[in-house]
Amino acid sequence: MHTRVPGRAAAPPALLFDPPAWWKVALVLLAVAIAQATIAKHLAFREAVPSFVLLLVLWYGFRTDAVAGLLFGTIAGVCEDALTGSTGAAWTISTAIVGALAGRTAGTFISESKTWLVPYAALATIARYGIYAIVIRAEGQTILLPAMHAHALLWQALYNALIAFVLLTFVPKTGVSRVGLR
């Protein structure tokens, strides 16, 4: 039985997460990676394709913490690098960092509502591409014309934000459920 110590403020509510079972996430990641390499190209809008992998990493990060987000982002990034075949570790590093940031943000007001999560998805798209571009340059590879990529990148950010909005609106399970705030 808990008793409150007189003169002391009540402790903040505990931060509890409800991460999904690892095998479920692994299956979803496999399905999403395949969809990313087969279906996403057909959904291209102004050279921008939706990034299902990034949205999954964000979703997982918001449900766990920085370490789990980092690890899941790494695995998801390896999948993308493997499917591309010539990007070295660019997607691995960029997706891992974005996953870790999402995990670090978990449990804060940002992961609380659509108002924050939707722009977060757009910003994460841009941040991830920025890290990807730095790593690609460091690997000595060519990045396409900056203007063309910037144009496609902004559309992709908008595209991902729109998908995040639709999912959060119509699929209640995609909302982040946790107890307590950081």
Partner: protein, 252 residues
């Protein structure tokens, strides 16, 4: 953190050595099988969706077709023959006759994030595909193999900025380097005395990945600046990359 760093280092090390890492090999092997299935499923779904969309018109057409059924029966034999010679298959067969050691492969995937012009084909080193092998289809040059896994390979399209192919303008035998611009190909480093014109056909020069004479495309714009060391030309690729299907991997 340590695991993530180790994975990143493995990937970087593999990228530096130019060989796929064991992580990439394992993942692409597993995912490749699913991709093949998903790609087939997607095609079937697309066909089915097309049928549903066209259902009202098909019903109307069906009434007319019933009336013409007997005439069509007479044409049936000819149509069967036409179906057996689907353009793409027939074209690949023609290409195969020119390159008897070529490996026929199907396109099963694309660059996940659409950042580069790369496609995945359903043949890997188990089928004899080798790194840097040229890839063509009946229309011309598609690209070259940049990563080979046991059952799949990645092909860098000639429209990618990283792609560099030795090229020759057919009319005057002027040499240049064909590099990608994302949607088209640019012929660079062409001598200033070359009299390039719109419509000139550009073909491959003899190189590591391609034999000489394979069509790359047609010149649509010439960039000629006085005082410059070289001139350049924009080339419309002969291959329709929007619906890439079966391709032929050249064996060297």
């Amino acid at each position: 953190m340590i695991v993530a760093a180790a994975v990143a280092l493995i990937q970087i090390e593999a990228a530096r050595s130019g060989k796929p890492s064991f992580l990439n090999s394992t993942l692409t092997t597993v995912i490749g099988f699913f991709q093949t299935g998903a790609s087939s499923g997607l095609d079937a779904a697309r066909d089915a969706l097309g049928s549903v969309v066209q259902a009202p018109r098909l019903a109307h057409d069906n009434a007319e077709l019933e009336a013409r059924n007997r005439a069509l029966e007479a044409e049936n034999v000819r149509l069967r023959e036409a179906v057996s010679q689907q353009p793409e298959i027939a074209a690949i067969d023609r290409a195969l006759q020119a390159e008897p050691n070529g490996i026929v492969a199907g396109t099963i995937g694309f660059d996940p994030e659409n950042q580069s012009r790369i496609v995945t084909i359903d043949k890997g080193w188990q089928a004899g595909v080798r790194l840097d092998a040229g890839v063509i289809n009946a229309e011309g040059v598609v690209g070259r193999v940049v990563a080979v896994e046991p059952f799949t390979s990645n092909v860098l399209l000639v429209t990618d900025a990283e792609s560099k192919v030795p090229a020759v303008v057919q009319r005057g035998r002027w040499w240049g380097i064909a590099t990608g611009t994302n949607t088209r190909v640019q012929l660079q480093y062409v001598s200033q005395d070359a009299q390039l014109r719109r419509g000139d056909i550009v073909v491959t020069g003899e190189g590591r990945s391609f034999h000489a004479g394979l069509p790359i495309g047609r010149v649509v714009q010439v960039f000629h600046a006085e005082g410059a060391l070289y001139q350049a030309a924009l080339v419309e690729p002969s291959v329709a990359f929007g619906h890439l299907g079966r391709v032929l991997v050249l064996a060297h």
